[in-house]
Symmetry: C2
Subunit: 184 residues, 2 copies
Amino acid sequence: MNKINKTRYAILGMLFGDPRTGYDIKKTLAETTAHFWQETDASIYPMLKKLVAEGKIKPTSAFRGKQTRTLYSITPSGKKEFAQWMAADVESGTHRHELLLKTFFGASTNKATIIKHLESRKKKLKEIQKKFAYIDLIVMPEIPKDNSHKIYQKMTLRNGVIRIEAELKWIDESLTLLKNKGIK
Amino acid sequence: MNKINKTRYAILGMLFGDPRTGYDIKKTLAETTAHFWQETDASIYPMLKKLVAEGKIKPTSAFRGKQTRTLYSITPSGKKEFAQWMAADVESGTHRHELLLKTFFGASTNKATIIKHLESRKKKLKEIQKKFAYIDLIVMPEIPKDNSHKIYQKMTLRNGVIRIEAELKWIDESLTLLKNKGIK
DNA sequence: ACGGACATGTAAGCAGTTACATGATTGC
DNA sequence: GCAATCATGTAACTGCTTACATGTCCGT
């Protein structure tokens, strides 16, 4: 089984609705999928070129303000490939969680180090949680039944909220355990 | 900031206590850290060579059954590097969650597809949950205060248990929402 | 005898990152 | 005038994976 570049699907998915510039894609991804999917400049621009060469997307020059920008739109061939990927089984992929690896090796250091890492992560999570809570409760408080993209977007946001809750729960449980005097 | 290979730390961590063969490392990692850290043969064996060349670990021939195996043990230099990594701040790293990306683009397909992916994931999670529950409740039921490695190992296991709970919660919430007749 | 675990590697290649580059426009 | 944002890329490198290879030991 060949491992294939998934950046292409992130791009095709972003272009499925409306044409956008590379910059638009990058920015929208950063604003909406950052907690579960990231792309860098260096992955987006070359992939755009590649997708054009493959006939999956089509560049069009258009005015944006005073300058001419390259807007990309998806072709029927691109739509087809995207649809196939959407229907295909989700590949599992590897994931590496450095905090957990350090925790796992906790006995090889002093427990203060692990506590430090856990508390640092807790602080960071609390910040993200605040941001998410704001979007969840203020920006997208109710489920807009008429806008299906918003439904799905909110769904992925809820995933972030729930995952953070869970990680905080684990951190608190772990901190309680570690701060127990009996444990060295 | 240079991105560095973390496989080295997984190996150094595994060797911190006792000497092991490459195979031991691979197997132990697969049995204990699989849910948050994976290594393949092709990452372990070359890294062992590299670490030997760097003087971080030392190979020793030893008998294991009838055959001579190469046991690796960590050197003071290796211990030092490992300790530095343990103390250093956890790097965030990227993570990509394909199921969430497909969910995010759900409006570009029919909702049956997303439901299929969610239910497939649910089934898989239920299986892992069963395995984890068994280890959590039967194999490692109580926290052994005298064995600090076990404490940390159980901690990472608990992380798996909690994360799965959370993901199942999200899936159920999402399925309920999608199966609501009002949504297309 | 045979299957499963033990045991150890190499080669090829794509993916994806960091660092490096550059320049215009808009709002304060 | 300056900073932030918009906008678009390349080069070099590393990481990591898949596929390929090979052989032994042990229990049944």
